[in-house]
Symmetry: C2
């Protein structure tokens, strides 16, 4: 079902979430921030959470000083001018290397999405200068756990998206995308729907969770004032069970790999 | 300047815009719809307008019955299983063909962006079954003209984005992107900015206009209830003069063409 009702889409930054540490209770932090930000929860609300705080809470930090690069990692590191220990982690997190040139390493992450450096970012979370943060082990499950806690606390039917910023083919600038989804349609399928004129629609699949992830990314920002979670009201499609995997273009249908 | 202030991002559908015809006054239609939708204009507001109504107002419809396909168009049409007259128009609108397989024709539009079918869509605008709609001739100029009219009528400093829905490498589902921009930063450049921890940011260029175009696309929808214009309050970056061309990855820096 894809019935829509025109309504405003409102994205509210959830303020005052502290630096998240391993084991922190994200649901409690988000509920507290929502209360401080004046959010009154309703059925159909969605929370978009930055990958970084999910990974930190799950302890996905790695001290590069504990990583021994393989010969293959050393070779790729030389080619891409990256830290061989980082490249070793990227390879462990990846299913395939798509492009490797100086400064750039684009891979298919083992979860299926194509991105730079397997989504691994520098972090201060280990208390070491050489600390990096991996993506959550299973972002859909992370989203589902968080949603379950938020729904229990609020008594509302909610959705959760975990977003990250990815670069793109053809266009400059990163864009927020959904890397984990629970209770929100990742893809909205309009096949068989018609336009005002009775013509079958040209566009048949909308990356709805990605569009919302991008909107939230705009509110989150990237710099020192970054906001790691955003409350959304007015997501225009009916909520349903879903997975970020709906958004992964099957390898054999991808003309640009 | 990239200073941000956390604030809600509110996207309001502009209701009651009728089917747009060649020569219609888009600014007047948008101002009327905004008034009906309860919008009180403020400095910094942005309007996102669907490409389709800009093209219709500019008379960019073509009756395929008036198009003679070249031999090259016939050849590509056979390969892609598309109408040779449509392929002829796609070629005229394009700088380069990137991929052509059955059902799919991906090109670099002469304005620089990579998309399917040069952004040409079927339309009823000619009163013929064989009518298609081309993109605006110069989307930045279209955005600038509209902005100028809206600013004059409201007395406010505004931004305008013309959006369209593009498919993507690697991921399924279309996403709204900016194909014309006026008064809004297309790209936000964070090079030299630091995170909470004093580390230089990994992400240095944000596709801000694309993120907003995606958010608006969610509000617009694609099907019979589509909304062709959205009012935005709370765009988090300072407005400035810009162009969609900032978002085009230079050919020589694109590893996926």
């Amino acid at each position: 079902m894809t019935a829509r009702h025109p309504q405003p889409l409102v994205l509210t930054p959830l303020l005052g979430i502290p630096l998240v540490e391993r084991g922190d209770d994200l649901a409690a932090l988000i509920l507290g921030a929502a209360e401080r930000s004046g959010v009154l929860w309703r059925d159909g609300d969605v929370v978009v959470v930055a990958q970084k705080i999910v990974s930190r809470a799950e302890g996905r930090m790695v001290d590069l000083n504990a990583v021994s690069p393989s010969p293959k990692a050393r070779e790729l590191a030389a080619l891409t001018q990256k830290d061989p220990r980082l490249v070793e982690l990227i390879l462990r997190e990846s299913a395939e290397v798509l492009r490797a040139v100086p400064g750039v390493l684009i891979v298919e992450h083992k979860r299926g999405f194509v991105c730079a450096n397997a989504g691994i970012d520098h972090s201060n979370a280990c208390g070491s200068e050489d600390c990096v943060l991996l993506l959550p082990e299973n972002p859909d499950e992370s989203a589902a756990r968080l949603r379950s806690r938020l729904e229990a606390a609020t008594g509302r039917r909610l959705g959760v998206i975990i977003n990250d910023s990815h670069g793109r083919a053809w266009r400059l600038g990163t864009m927020g995308v959904a890397i984990g989804v629970s209770g929100v349609p990742a893809l909205v399928d309009l096949r068989g729907r018609y336009d005002l004129l009775g013509r079958e629609l040209r566009i048949t699949q909308i990356g709805a969770a990605d569009e919302l992830a991008a909107a939230a990314s705009l509110v989150m920002g990237q710099a020192d004032e970054a906001i790691p979670a955003v409350h959304v009201r007015g997501f225009p499609y009916p909520l349903r069970e879903s997975s970020f995997r709906e958004l992964i273009r099957p390898r054999e249908k991808d003309l640009f790999r």
